[in-house]
């Protein structure tokens, strides 16, 4: 180590960077690891891709007569479901972050707590967008066509990403409170899957058992699936989109404050 005069450079930076800028720095940090481990780019879309292909080809024909019809009805929403399952990675990623000492350092710095968490969510959203692009491309390649055209597809992708953003925050809380990685995986299986299967992701509401129907109506994934379909089919958006926006707002209103509280408990105990 050579001689050091730490006063050489002015280090009292006057630029005031707000919460959003700090979140962006944290998001860039989460994404920077892709440069060192580029194989992650494949990991991000493997699960939703495999879910789409296996369900479409192995079960689609049985469910709707031909897999092509099934793809046209359920392809986009199955992609949505695959990405919805992938939000577990937000919880796992945060859990891993906190296990490393880096969050101790960041917590002892004058950085907003929200940014430290939002950075992870924002980075994951970029990953979901990437996976959506790839898996959506595959769906198009095997024959899916949206009647709503480019605009409708973009709107459907938009509402999906908005929902994933909100859902990620619930995983932030899970990541901050989980005792182990296995626990996070268990959460995914036991909570996310039933949620998906009692919605209109795969099926129309009147095909569900009566007792489940009232829940299926309420299910946020029904709101998501119906909103995506209305945009993709070029229909006129209505109540389903409002229901989805309401759900997103409600999820954020609950989980952002709870996550911040969990963060305080976990890192400044």
């Amino acid at each position: 180590m050579s001689a050091m005069n730490t006063a050489a450079t002015e280090t009292t930076w006057t630029t005031k960077r707000g919460t959003l800028a700090q979140s962006a720095s944290m998001a860039a940090r989460s994404l920077a690891s892709i440069k060192h481990y580029p194989a992650q780019l494949v990991d991000f879309f493997m699960i939703p891709l495999m879910i789409l292909l296996s369900i479409t080809f192995f079960m689609g024909g049985q469910m709707m007569g031909s897999w092509q019809d099934f793809l046209q009805y359920a392809g986009p929403t199955i992609i949505a479901m695959g990405l919805f399952f992938a939000v577990t990675s937000t919880g796992l990623g945060l859990y891993g972050d906190i296990k490393e000492g880096v969050f101790d350092r960041l917590t002892a710095m004058p950085v907003s707590r929200f940014s430290l968490l939002a950075g992870r969510v924002a980075a994951d959203l970029v990953k979901y967008a990437w996976a959506l692009l790839v898996v959506g491309g595959v769906a198009f390649a095997i024959g899916y066509r949206a009647e709503g055209g480019v605009l409708g597809t973009a709107a459907a992708a938009g509402v999906l990403l908005l929902f994933l953003f909100a859902a990620s925050w619930s995983m932030v809380l899970v990541g901050l409170t989980a005792k182990s990685e296995e626990q996070i995986q268990t959460w995914m299986i036991s909570l996310l899957m039933p949620l998906a299967y009692t919605s209109t992701i795969f099926v129309e509401i009147d095909t569900l058992p009566g007792a489940v129907q009232w829940w299926a109506e309420l299910n946020p994934l029904t709101a998501l699936a119906d909103s995506m379909r209305v945009f993709l089919d070029g229909g006129t958006p209505g109540g389903e989109v409002w229901a989805l926006l309401g759900w997103c707002a409600a999820i954020l209103a609950v989980f952002v404050p709870l996550s911040l509280r969990a963060y305080r408990r976990k890192l400044t105990n």
Partner: protein, 321 residues
Amino acid sequence: MKYAIEVRGLRKSFGDVNALDGVDLGAAPGTVLGVLGPNGAGKTTAVRVLSTLTRPDAGTARVLGLDVATQAGKVRERIGLTGQYAGLDPNLSGEQNLVLIARLLGASRRQARARANELIERFDLAHAATRAAGKYSGGMRRRLDLAASVVRRPDVLFLDEPTTGLDPQSRNGLWQVVRELVAAGTTVLLTTQYLEEADQLADSIAVIDTGRVIASGTPAQLKQTVGGQVLRLSPARPDAAGQLAQLAEWAIGAKARTEDGAVIVPVAHAGEAQAVMVRVNQAGVDLAGFGLHEPTLDEVFLQLTGHRAHTEAEPEKEMAA
């Protein structure tokens, strides 16, 4: 301001473990306070409280006159922290780690890169600047960790066992950096398990054990308390140990003890060791060997507390988790 770091009656327990049981500490601005103690003594908890990461149950802790509990935000503006576990992102390169911290602290992209490069040069990491920090060696990681805590030059720097597990060369390099930071006006609180490290760096030392300060003062004062050095005499015949201890007490009035057949005599300086040796020589007791060395932490503890340091205890982080 008399103290840059001022701790009074600090208490913190995790479950039924009293990590801090009424700790008082003080460090004048621009000095190094060494907090010396074995694993599990409460060192890490004290650093975590002072760096706003742990809320104390009772007592006050002030950094630069700011209360860490009620003015945590202002404290964070002025401190640097190198925890016991590397505070780095293992997936980022050394340079990216430093740039991230500078950016979070408000530097522009250009300023952040300039500061990162400057620190990488100074901490001798240029050859590994673009490699993932997770692949660094222990010494390199420590240097990067320290660089990360001085991205913005802190007024108070906390170093939690900065050299544990380092080879002597890396350790000396780190000591040099700490000295330079202090020369530039930074106040440093450093925890360590090594008396030598505290002696080398600290202006004042607090010895803590099971959450309490059991001795404090300048290194010289402390060494006086525990005997500056340790003379170890191994008798040729094991049954001569008692006689050797007696001779040592006659020679310099020191209370000697026996350990593994050898006689351990605390001495204030080399002259006292010489006096003991003369007396042993006159008495005609044959020695198999002898040596003069700095007291180990264990010996300091034995002297101060009458019991051995719990060096086998679990790391404190486990307790805090």
